[in-house]
């Protein structure tokens, strides 16, 4: 694979910009701080990236920073990983999920209203999952009823990242029946300041509260905030879910590779640099981390070439989730007892912070969210290996 000159010119430009602009000492500054400081830092980093044109390479031509090829976007992500720049966690849904969905499905009025606002720093969250619609998203039950020119929404969403800070929400609702469950879903855009919304942050096992529950009590949404037709929401949601196109795992797998020496440093710090068992585990992990990078890289190249096959994305995600788990577990093992003494966590950091219990606990984000490992295995078995789907009907013993 020969690097093309245009991408490589961009690489040099991005590298120089990041060297000059990544906030120095951001990791330390984000450790043991209140969430407000994190939000503030994210906003500052976001506006810098937008101004430089590196936050929106995937946006269509004509938008600031937009019109970059997938190959160029990949370069930007690789450089962001290389520079260990903060991730734009607070703005990810706005920049990718909201923007890509609107670009593909939005009316001209919706695009004019929302896309410039995203560039100005509007925060979006995603209202997809529900307490009883996780892996089985299509079974969602949050109800929207059209009354006159507005939808009235009742129900509950969960796992909405940073919903407590969001200005707007991408909301999946049920307007029709549930046979089949994918039909009867309608996609709405919601102003989070609307009356009847309650947002309740969820405290995770790490002590962080990245996610929230969102409750809807007769929440009114104007009908013009619907994306696509009524009942077409499932198709629209597929665009939302496909919007990041494998770039995140290119970035995160490379970040993991850059973080490998962190385990070596921990071994030295613990006086165990010569421990043969640890060295062996580190060597095995090192090969796997490089394999994740290769897998994520090749997946993106396949997408660029239009050669993606069903199940390819699942393989990358499943393998990444597993290797990340192994990485953090090795950290725990090397860190020993001293890692078991409480240390405040780092906000908005990547998966590898060296606070091993936190890193380990956060690795569940990748094995559960965005399609759990078990769902990915089903996809790989059924769509790639062509193994049969289970029958849809079932009976409990005795029934």
């Amino acid at each position: 694979m020969q690097p093309d000159p245009k991408s490589e010119a961009l690489r040099a430009e991005v590298r120089a910009w990041l060297a000059a602009n990544v906030p120095k000492g951001w990791r330390q500054a984000m450790t043991s701080v209140e969430q407000e400081s994190f939000v503030e830092a994210q906003r500052a980093w976001f506006s810098k990236l937008v101004k430089a044109g590196y936050a929106t390479p995937h946006w269509p031509e004509g938008w600031p920073g937009g019109g970059r090829s997938l190959a160029e976007q990949k370069v930007i992500y690789e450089e962001v990983a290389r520079a260990d720049a903060p991730r734009l966690i607070l703005f990810f849904v706005a920049l990718y999920h909201a923007a890509c969905t609107l670009t593909e499905w939005g009316t001209p009025a919706q695009k004019d209203k929302y896309l410039p606002a995203i560039l100005k720093g509007e925060i979006w969250c995603q209202g997809f999952s529900e307490p009883n619609a996780g892996s089985d998203l299509a079974s969602l039950r949050t109800r929207a009823e059209l009354k006159g020119d507005r939808y009235v929404v009742n129900g509950q969403k969960i796992w909405s990242t940073m919903a407590q800070y969001a200005d707007r929400c991408l909301l999946l609702t049920r307007t029709g029946g549930s046979q089949p469950p994918q039909a009867g879903i309608t996609y709405l855009l919601l102003d989070m300041k609307t009356k009847g919304i309650t947002v309740r942050p969820i405290t995770q096992i790490t002590g962080d509260d990245e996610f929230s529950e969102v409750f809807f009590d007769d929440v009114e949404i104007p009908a013009e905030e619907r994306v696509g037709k009524e009942g077409e929401g499932w198709a629209v949601a597929q665009s939302t879910l496909a919007s990041e196109r494998g770039l995140t795992l290119v970035e995160l797998s490379q970040r993991m590779r850059y973080a490998l020496p962190m385990i070596g440093a921990e071994m030295r710090a613990q006086g165990r640099a010569e421990d043969a068992a640890l060295r062996h585990a580190l060597g095995e992990l090192g090969a796997k981390v490089n394999a994740v990078c290769a897998l994520a890289d090749r997946y993106l190249l396949k997408r660029i070439a239009g050669e993606e096959a069903p199940g390819d994305a699942s393989i990358v995600k499943l393998y990444y989730a597993q290797v990340l788990r192994e990485f953090t577990k090795l950290g725990l093992r090397v860190g020993g007892l001293s890692a078991q003494y409480y240390k405040g966590f780092m906000r908005g950091a990547t998966q590898e912070t060296g606070n091993w219990p936190v890193d380990f606990m956060n690795s569940y984000n990748w094995s559960i969210a965005g399609g759990s490992n078990e769902v990915q295995r089903n996809i790989i078995a059924e769509r790639m290996l062509q193994m049969p789907r289970e029958p849809k009907t079932w009976q409990l013993p005795g029934n």
């Binding site: 060597g283 897998l295 790989i380 790639m384 193994m387």
Partner: protein, 340 residues
């Protein structure tokens, strides 16, 4: 070039499918030589195809898939050594070796050698098909040479292995003098050549493992689709499907690492290539072994019968894991590179 390699790989698969699984050496070897497979990595200026390790790896993968019982890797290694040597009549040697006129065997494991009484003493182990070889490639830190086998002080002994798709030999050397005219490299050049050949060998074993693991998983899934218990195909059980998905995933990862690493090689003789080859080898071979372990379990009773080919994959996987440098040294070397 990518298209050319894909075509080569497809045609190799046709040939080996035609020959059948674990086809006999005597039957397939002449055909493979005839087809020019030994020329793929030979530089164009020496009359080869100049397609490098990437093309060779495509063939190693197919050979792994078909469990072909041919000494392709040791022959390729000795040809590679000659191509990158200071041998006076290099062109003639390449022509003879790539044309199958001579076979120079190469040990696939580390050897303990000592220089005494003006000759070399020690044992070269895991030398494939040495009974068909005119010479063996002698690789020591300070010199690489071709050693004729028909001379006193050289004793070739067949070793039975569990893997029936390879015929390995020990070659015992007792104060065997090295013919100056057959020296390929000395000193630093020898160390560089040995590193180059180790890298080549490691990538080849990785490719063999990826090919074998993929083939066995395909066979396993096929079997699970047809085998019925409790009035349904075994492939319907999620407990089984998930294990197959896990196997598919680790094979995909090992393959991605292999292909990606091959694409990143700048000089097959440098340290960076050696490290990439070690990673590819250790991951692919441990993956292959795991896939064969699971493959037999997923086949159930039929998997432990000699008539079913599962065990052929298992035995080749076990051997692949031990060929090359000592098994555990790979992880140790990778860790050393990370620790700096």
């Amino acid at each position: 070039m990518t298209g050319e390699i894909a075509e080569l790989q497809e045609s190799a698969r046709r040939v080996l499918d035609g020959a059948g699984l674990a086809a006999d050496e005597a039957k397939t070897w002449p055909q493979i030589v005839e087809l020019g497979w030994l020329l793929v990595a030979v530089p164009e200026e020496l009359g080869g195809l100049g397609l490098g390790l990437t093309a060779a790896s495509a063939l190693y993968t197919e050979i792994g898939r078909g469990l072909a019982a041919i000494p392709y890797l040791p022959a390729m290694l000795s040809i590679d050594a000659v191509c990158h040597s200071g041998l006076a009549d290099r062109e003639i040697w390449v022509e003879r070796l790539a044309g199958g006129e001579n076979y120079v065997a190469t040990p696939l494991a580390a050897a303990l050698l000592s220089a005494e009484k003006g000759g070399v003493t020690g044992t070269l182990s895991a030398v494939p098909s040495a009974d068909k070889a005119s010479h063996v490639l002698l690789m020591a830190a300070d010199q690489v040479a071709l050693l004729p086998l028909a001379q006193s002080g050289v004793k070739v002994t067949a070793r039975q292995t569990w893997d029936k798709t390879r015929r390995l030999f020990d070659i015992r050397l007792e104060a065997v003098a090295i013919d100056e005219e057959l020296v390929l490299a000395r000193g630093e050049a020898a160390a560089a050549l040995v590193r180059r050949l180790s890298t080549h060998r490691d990538f080849a074993l990785a490719a063999d493992a990826v090919g074998g693991a993929s083939a066995l998983l395909e066979r396993t899934v096929e079997y699970l689709q047809t085998r019925r218990q409790f009035a349904r195909p075994l492939a319907l059980f999620q407990a089984i499907k998930h294990r197959c998905a896990d196997l598919k995933t680790i094979i995909a990862a090992a393959e991605a690492l292999l292909v990606d690493s091959l694409g990143r090689i700048e000089d097959p003789g440098d340290e960076a290539a050696a490290l990439m080859a070690k990673q590819a080898k250790s991951l692919a071979c441990s993956t292959y072994f795991h896939v064969t372990e699971e493959g037999i379990q997923l086949h159930g009773g039929i998997g432990v019968t000699a008539e079913h080919p599962c065990h052929l994959f298992l035995k080749r996987a076990m051997l692949d894991a031990q060929l090359g440098a000592p098994g555990d040294s790979y992880a140790r070397d990778i860790a050393a590179a990370i620790l700096g």
